[in-house]
C-alpha cells in the first residue's frame, strides 16, 4: 500500500510559515511585555496567554466567527483573493499560528528577561536608539534561546489538531494536515497509515528537541 505523504508536506509548510510569522509577532510582543511600562501590558499578557489555556476547539470556534465567510475579515479576504479564507491551507496556517505563538511569546520574553540589564543599559548609555539596542544587543544576546524557542514552536505548529479541524477542516489533498490525517486514518481503520505518520511525526519532534537542547546547552559566552 502506498502512503500519501501530502499531509506531512502540508504540515511542514504550514508550520514553517506559521513559525516565521509567529517569531515576528513574538519578538514584538515580548519586547512590549518585558521592556515597556504601559497601561495595557497586563491585558496584552493575559490575551496572549489565553490560547494556552482555552480548549483548542473553543479557540477554533472564535476564529471561525472572526474569519468566517460572513465576518468582515472573511469578506475582505474573499473580495481580494476571490475565495474564502476558511477551509484552505492558509486557514490551517492561522490555526498553527494560534497554537504556537503564545508559547513562543513566553519563551522569547523569558529569553529577553534573562539578559543582564547592564547590556541594554550600556548600549543606551553609548547613545544607541531603542531600535538599535533591540536589534544589535538584545536580540543577538538572546538569539540562542530564541532559536531554540522557535524550533519548539515549529514542533508545536506541526501538531495542532483542534483549531485546524475547526477552521481548516479535513479536506484530503487540500487542508488535511498530519495530525488530522492520523485521526482520519484511525477512524477509517487504516492502521498502517496511522502508525507510519505517527512514527514520522515523533521522529521529527525528537529531532527538534535534540536540536533545541544542543542550542540551549551552548550558552552564549559572557
Amino acid at each position: 500500500m502506498s502512503i500519501d505523504w501530502f499531509p506531512l508536506w502540508l504540515s511542514l509548510r504550514v508550520a514553517a510559515i506559521a513559525t516565521v510569522v509567529s517569531l515576528a509577532i513574538s519578538l514584538a510582543v515580548a519586547y512590549l511585555l518585558s521592556y515597556r511600562q504601559w497601561r495595557g501590558r497586563e491585558l496584552l499578557d493575559a490575551l496572549t496567554t489565553l490560547p494556552l489555556v482555552l480548549p483548542p476547539t473553543v479557540l477554533g470556534y472564535y476564529l471561525l466567527v472572526v474569519i468566517g465567510r460572513e465576518s468582515p475579515i472573511g469578506r475582505v479576504y474573499e473580495s481580494i483573493f476571490g475565495s474564502p479564507l476558511v477551509f484552505t491551507w492558509q486557514a490551517a496556517t492561522i490555526a498553527a499560528l494560534f497554537h504556537s505563538t503564545p508559547l513562543l511569546i513566553k519563551f522569547t520574553r523569558a529569553a529577553f528577561e534573562s539578559i543582564d540589564p547592564s547590556y541594554p543599559r550600556a548600549a543606551r548609555n553609548l547613545g544607541a536608539s531603542e531600535w538599535k539596542v533591540f536589534w544589535r544587543v538584545t536580540v543577538p544576546l538572546a538569539r540562542r534561546s530564541i532559536f531554540a524557542a522557535a524550533a519548539l514552536a515549529f514542533a508545536r505548529s506541526l501538531g495542532d489538531f483542534g483549531i485546524t479541524i475547526m477552521i481548516a477542516g479535513n479536506i484530503p489533498g487540500r487542508t488535511q494536515t498530519i495530525a488530522v490525517a492520523i485521526y482520519d486514518a484511525v477512524e477509517s481503520g487504516n492502521g498502517t497509515l496511522a502508525r507510519t505518520l505517527s512514527l514520522v511525526i515523533s521522529a521529527v519532534a525528537i529531532a527538534i528537541l535534540y536540536l533545541t537542547n544542543r542550542l540551549e546547552r551552548r550558552r552564549p559566552a559572557g
Partner: protein, 353 residues
C-alpha cells in the same frame, strides 16, 4: 562640573527594607570618590545621573545642561546624557569583538571619523593586537581597559566608574590606577568613582564623599576626612579602630587639658574647644599612635592580649576592651615578653568625634 540634588524613596519590599536616597553633590574636573558600604546608595546615585533610574524629585545639571529636573519635568533619556559609564561587570557586548564594541559606541561620530577614532582608542589603551577578539577571550584587565575606552570614545562630559578595581589583583589594580590618573590628566571632565576600598580612595580621590544610608555623611579631601571623621558613623565606615564612647568629666583651658571617662577608666586629653562638661562624645585614636608598656603610668590602661596579626609592614595586636595597636616588628620584639600589658594613650593623639 556636575551638580546633583536628588531624592528617591523605595517602599519596603518583600526582601528589602525601605530605602531613601537623598543626595546633594557637586564635582568639578578631577576624581570624586563616592565611598561607602554596600547598599549605601553609591551605585544608585550613578544610575540616577546616567538616567537609568528616575529620581522622585530634584535636579541634575551637567555643565550648563539640565539632565533632570523634576519640577520642570525634564528627564533626558540615557542616550542624550553624554555620560560615560564603566559598569562593574564592564558590560562589554559578548557577541562583538573589542573593535566592534568600540565601533558601536563611535556610531554617534561622523562616519569619516569613526574608524580613525576607534583605532586611536585601541592604540591608546593597548588593545590593538586584541581588537579582533571577543571579550571572553581576553583577560579581566584588558576587558576593563576596553570598557573604559568604550565609555570615553564619545567624548563624554562626565565619567562614571562603578567599582572599577573590584575583582582585580594587585598588579592590575596598580595598572588601573595609572590608567585612571592618565585619564584624569587627558580628559578634563569630572570623574565620579564608586568604591568601598580606602586605598583606592587615597590613590585616586581628589575629593571624597562618604555615603551612608542614602545620604552624604561627609565630604572633603580624603586625608582631611580621614584625619577628622565628622561622627562615629563615618569613622566606622572608614574602618577606624579604637572608638570608645566617653563622657567629658573635666575641661581646663588654662592647662590645655581635659578628662575623659571611658567605661571603667579615665584618660587625660587635650582641651577641646567648643565642648562642654558632661558632653557624651566618641574618643578615637589611631592604632599606630597607641604605645605599649609593662608598668603603670599616666593614661595607661591594663589590658589582655587577645590576638597577634602579622601584617605586611607591621604587627597588629588586638587587646581586650576592643583596643587595637599597630607597631613595627622591631618594637614588638622588644615588648613581646611583657608579663603585663598596659596601653598608653598619648594625650595629644586623642581625638574626639
Amino acid at each position: 562640573m556636575i551638580q546633583v540634588r536628588i531624592a528617591k524613596r523605595f517602599a519596603p519590599g518583600q526582601e528589602s527594607a525601605e530605602f531613601s536616597l537623598n543626595v546633594e553633590l557637586q564635582a568639578a574636573a578631577g576624581v570624586t570618590v563616592l565611598f561607602g558600604a554596600s547598599g549605601s546608595g553609591k551605585t544608585l546615585t550613578l544610575d540616577c545621573i546616567a538616567g537609568f533610574v528616575t529620581p522622585d524629585s530634584g535636579r541634575i545639571l551637567l555643565d550648563d545642561e539640565i539632565l533632570f529636573d523634576a519640577a520642570a519635568k525634564v528627564n533626558l533619556r540615557p542616550q542624550d546624557r553624554n555620560c560615560g559609564y564603566v559598569f562593574q561587570n564592564y558590560a562589554l557586548f559578548p557577541h562583538m569583538t573589542l573593535r566592534e564594541n568600540l565601533a558601536f559606541a563611535a556610531e554617534r561620530k561622523p562616519r569619516l571619523e569613526r574608524h580613525r577614532r576607534v583605532s586611536e582608542m585601541l592604540e591608546k589603551f593597548q588593545l590593538t593586537s586584541l581588537s579582533g577578539r571577543r571579550p571572553h577571550e581576553v583577560s579581566g584587565g584588558e576587558q576593563q581597559r576596553c570598557s573604559i575606552a568604550r565609555a570615553l570614545i564619545g567624548e563624554p562630559k562626565l565619567l562614571l566608574l562603578d567599582e572599577p578595581a573590584r575583582g582585580l589583583d594587585a598588579p592590575l589594580r596598580a595598572a588601573l590606577y595609572l590608567t585612571l590618573r592618565q585619564i584624569r590628566a587627558d580628559f578634563n571632565v569630572p570623574i565620579l568613582l564608586v568604591t568601598h576600598d580606602l586605598e583606592e580612595c587615597f590613590e585616586l580621590g581628589d575629593e571624597m564623599l562618604v555615603m551612608r544610608e542614602g545620604r552624604i555623611a561627609q565630604s572633603g579631601a580624603p586625608k582631611d576626612v580621614f584625619a577628622q571623621p565628622a561622627n562615629v558613623d563615618v569613622a566606622r565606615i572608614l574602618g577606624v579602630r579604637n572608638l570608645f564612647e566617653a563622657q567629658i568629666t573635666a575641661l581646663d583651658p588654662g592647662r590645655n587639658t581635659s578628662r575623659l571617662k571611658i567605661a571603667d577608666f579615665e584618660l587625660t586629653g587635650p582641651y577641646y574647644p567648643g565642648r562642654f562638661l558632661g558632653d557624651g562624645v566618641w574618643v578615637s585614636i589611631s592604632a599606630a599612635d597607641l604605645r605599649l608598656s609593662s608598668h603603670n603610668g599616666q593614661n595607661r590602661v591594663p589590658v589582655k592580649l587577645v590576638r597577634v596579626i602579622e601584617m605586611p609592614q607591621a604587627i597588629r595586636l588586638e587587646f581586650s576592651r576592643d583596643i587595637t595597636v599597630e607597631m613595627t616588628r622591631a618594637e614588638f620584639e622588644r615588648q613581646k615578653d611583657n608579663k603585663e600589658w598596659l596601653v598608653e594613650f598619648p594625650s595629644e593623639s586623642i581625638r574626639i568625634l
